[in-house]
């Protein structure tokens, strides 16, 4: 595409807006520097905000120059994309909703439009209207660009948190020599259960565990997929010489498993973690004795 398409030559609306932006760059940046959107990010000095404003004006002029006023992906925006994203993010952190941030962006237009109208006061009405429309479209594109950036920031944050959740939610606890436990919490989807299986099998090797307790007290729903994941984990642990005990099966879950028709027959289950630990200790030939009462009560 040629650098200058037909309608950006001086005198056409797009060309006029471009020349106006370049000519009044300093003034526009000065006006914007007082807007909350700029003040919130560039807190150190006002000059910094003015410089940031100039960068945005330059980008707008560049985009107008190549005639792509409706394209948020225009290369002219590239230099200010990061900066705009930071500005929107700072306003969100300040407690503004996405709609309010969008409103503040819309607020950047009227002062510029007034300057444009003033500059064009002797021009024919039709030309003035065309120029104002072009400026509105251009500022609208800027708004779309900032919202896009803000949304992709949000998506990146969600992805990071998802990864974090996967890591922290599966600690393997050594309860006794040869006994490890994994308290499962939250939804056990395929990705999470894979992590659980891996960390558990590693712990079985590391701790030389004979018994592994999977506690599902914190799992809200046990459906056929969750059951399948549990069974696979139990089978894998068994291959490594460790017996698995599934504990923390609440009454409502137990009834649901029965109605669903799931067969957990090959798996040792206990109602609570304490029962599971007692069973495992007993199997290992160890036990917990209550010394305060009769002293012979072994679990």
């Amino acid at each position: 595409m040629p650098e200058h398409v037909g309608d950006t030559t001086p005198g056409t609306p797009t060309g006029q807006v471009r020349d106006f932006l370049r000519g009044r760059r300093e003034q526009i940046a000065q006006r914007w520097a007082d807007e909350p959107l700029f003040r919130a990010v560039f807190t150190v000095s006002r000059d910094e905000a003015v410089e940031a404003g100039k960068a945005v004006v330059d980008a707008l002029a560049e985009v107008a120059d190549v005639g792509r006023v409706e394209d948020p992906d225009a290369p002219g925006f590239a230099p200010v994309r990061d900066q705009l994203g930071r500005m929107a993010a700072a306003r969100s952190r300040g407690g503004l909703s996405t709609g309010q941030v969008s409103g503040e962006l819309a607020g950047l237009r009227p002062p510029v439009e007034n300057m444009l109208l003033e500059e064009l006061r002797d021009a024919p009405a039709e030309h003035v209207r065309a120029c104002a429309t072009t400026l509105t479209v251009l500022m609208g594109t800027l708004r779309v660009l900032v919202m896009q950036t803000a949304l992709s920031e949000g998506q990146a944050l969600i992805d990071r948190q998802r990864l974090q959740l996967m890591e922290v939610a599966t600690p393997v606890i050594k309860l006794w020599d040869g006994i490890v436990a994994v308290p499962l919490i939250g939804t056990l989807d395929s990705a999470r259960s894979q992590v659980v299986m891996e960390t558990l099998l590693e712990a079985v090797v590391e701790q030389r565990a004979r018994y592994a307790i999977l506690d599902i007290t914190g799992v809200p729903t046990v459906d056929s997929l969750v059951a399948q994941h549990l069974m696979k984990t139990v089978q894998a642990a068994r291959l490594m010489g460790a017996e698995c005990i599934v504990s923390g099966i609440r009454p409502a879950i137990a009834q649901t498993i029965v109605h669903l028709g799931l067969d957990l027959g090959g798996v040792i289950t206990r109602a609570g973690l304490a029962d599971a630990l007692g069973y495992a200790l007993h199997q290992l030939g160890a036990g917990i004795f209550n010394t305060t009462s009769n002293g012979t009560d072994q679990r």
């Binding site: 809200p220 729903t221 459906d223 056929s224 409502a252 649901t256 109605h259 028709g261």
Partner: protein, 146 residues
Amino acid sequence: MGTAAGVEARLPIGSDLDLMWVRQHVRQAAATLGFGLVDQTKLVTAASELARNTLVYGGGGTMESEHLVDGSSHGLRLTFSDEGPGIADIEQALSDGFTSGEGLGMGLGGARRLVHEFAIESAPGAGTTVRVTSWTGRPPKPREEF
């Protein structure tokens, strides 16, 4: 108790995250309508199975939840629809242990045992719609097979 607010909804089913949303919505709706803990758990589990079928076999779709009233009993109706390949042999799909994928094959038949009313409409190429309803204050339906 028993208002439609927060119960009637239409949720998309397009990803694993949507399944979580479906489960949370059904749990909340069932609690709002006065279902006990066991019935809540059954409904949520049935919804989880059916929503996963919609996602995995139907290629995604929607779940619609409605509030029904019959005398003093409140009902929660969940409708799962997709526009996927459909099911050729519904009887076979409902039988335990049958799966065209990698699951246990307990989902559809299991879900039917967890609710009071169960209806399925499907034909090859025409998508699948599963409608389940449960009522508060009614005993579990008699068990024919078990």
